[in-house]
């Protein structure tokens, strides 16, 4: 996977977190993982179609998810209900939209399929055991991951 694909999603995440949540995002070391597997509570899967095909998985802890929605709404959130999961899905959707715009600058024309929010630990979102890249990310309210599984369309 080319570096521009990773950077497109990383920089879109930085921009959207800064703008919507007033949060600075720092990146850890990228790892290669088997399939899209999450060990966190709140997951959002975005499908990518077009010149690049595949999925992006955002994984957050419950605490971080609730805090993100608190920052946006100004209200304390107690549980991940449909308000919280919809807000999380929309943040990921906006990141995806911005990433697709970034990819256009590298001559990749792609589209984002509406997000699917999956609540619960240890969800295995297997991609037939193919390899994905995991970007660990840090903010002052918690850590989260982005798994990128993309390949160039034939």
């Amino acid at each position: 996977m080319k570096a521009e694909c990773i950077n497109a999603f990383y920089s879109a995440t930085q921009d959207v977190f800064n703008l919507m949540l007033d949060l600075r995002v720092e990146r850890g070391d990228i790892k290669v993982v088997e399939g899209l597997v999450s060990s966190r509570n709140a997951n959002v899967v975005l499908g990518v179609t077009g010149d690049l095909k595949g999925s992006i998985l955002f994984s957050f802890t419950q605490d971080m998810t609730l805090e993100m929605v608190r920052i946006m709404s100004g209200l304390e959130m107690k549980t991940i209900d449909s308000f919280v999961s919809s807000a999380l899905g929309e943040v990921a959707n906006i990141i995806g939209g911005n990433a697709v715009t970034n990819l256009t600058n590298h001559n990749y024309i792609c589209d984002i399929v509406p997000p699917q929010v999956i609540i619960g630990e240890y969800q295995s979102l297997s991609m037939a055991n193919k390899k994905a890249l995991l970007i660990p990310l840090r903010t002052h309210i918690g850590e989260f991951d982005i798994n990128i599984f993309l390949s160039e369309s034939q």
């Binding site: 449909s82 308000f83 919809s86």
Partner: protein, 142 residues
């Protein structure tokens, strides 16, 4: 408090409407997220929802008129963004009209509206403010 000072673009008419939008949306979210029984808060939800969707349209029209007045170069791009925003709202209005007026769908809608509004005001509308400052545009806000 949803409104943040950094959302200000320095144009009183637009900033005031943005503040009102955030205030109403915040009220809407509070009702939707309150622990009151759904049947008991349904009238309140309907009333706020009606106000919100009308006010968003009213605000977009005012904002577009202002952009015309100042010859804002990205007016068409901004119009398209407003059209997409309106379409998003109308999709939900259709869903509600077709009978899916339930707590889950209303919560989903409130969350999306919040994200769209923060993103639109926090990013796209800021460019109007930058243009106004850069060009030293005089405001005609009457």
């Amino acid at each position: 408090m949803m409104w943040k000072e950094r959302y200000s673009i320095g144009v009183e008419l637009i900033d005031d409407q943005h503040k009102e939008l955030f205030k109403r949306l915040s009220h809407f979210i509070q009702i939707v997220q309150s622990e009151t029984n759904w049947e008991d808060k349904m009238d309140d939800v309907k009333e706020t929802l009606d106000f919100m969707k009308d006010y968003v349209i009213y605000h977009f029209n005012d904002e577009e008129r202002y952009q015309e007045e100042i010859n804002y170069p990205d007016l068409e791009v901004h119009r398209e963004a407003h059209a997409k925003f309106r379409e998003g709202i109308n999709d939900y209005v259709r869903i509600f009209d077709q009978g899916e007026f339930n707590e889950e769908k209303i919560k989903e809608f409130a969350a999306k509206l919040m994200a769209w509004l923060i993103m639109h005001v926090g990013k796209m509308d800021q460019k109007i403010g930058e243009y106004v400052k850069e060009k030293g545009v005089r405001h005609n806000e009457s």
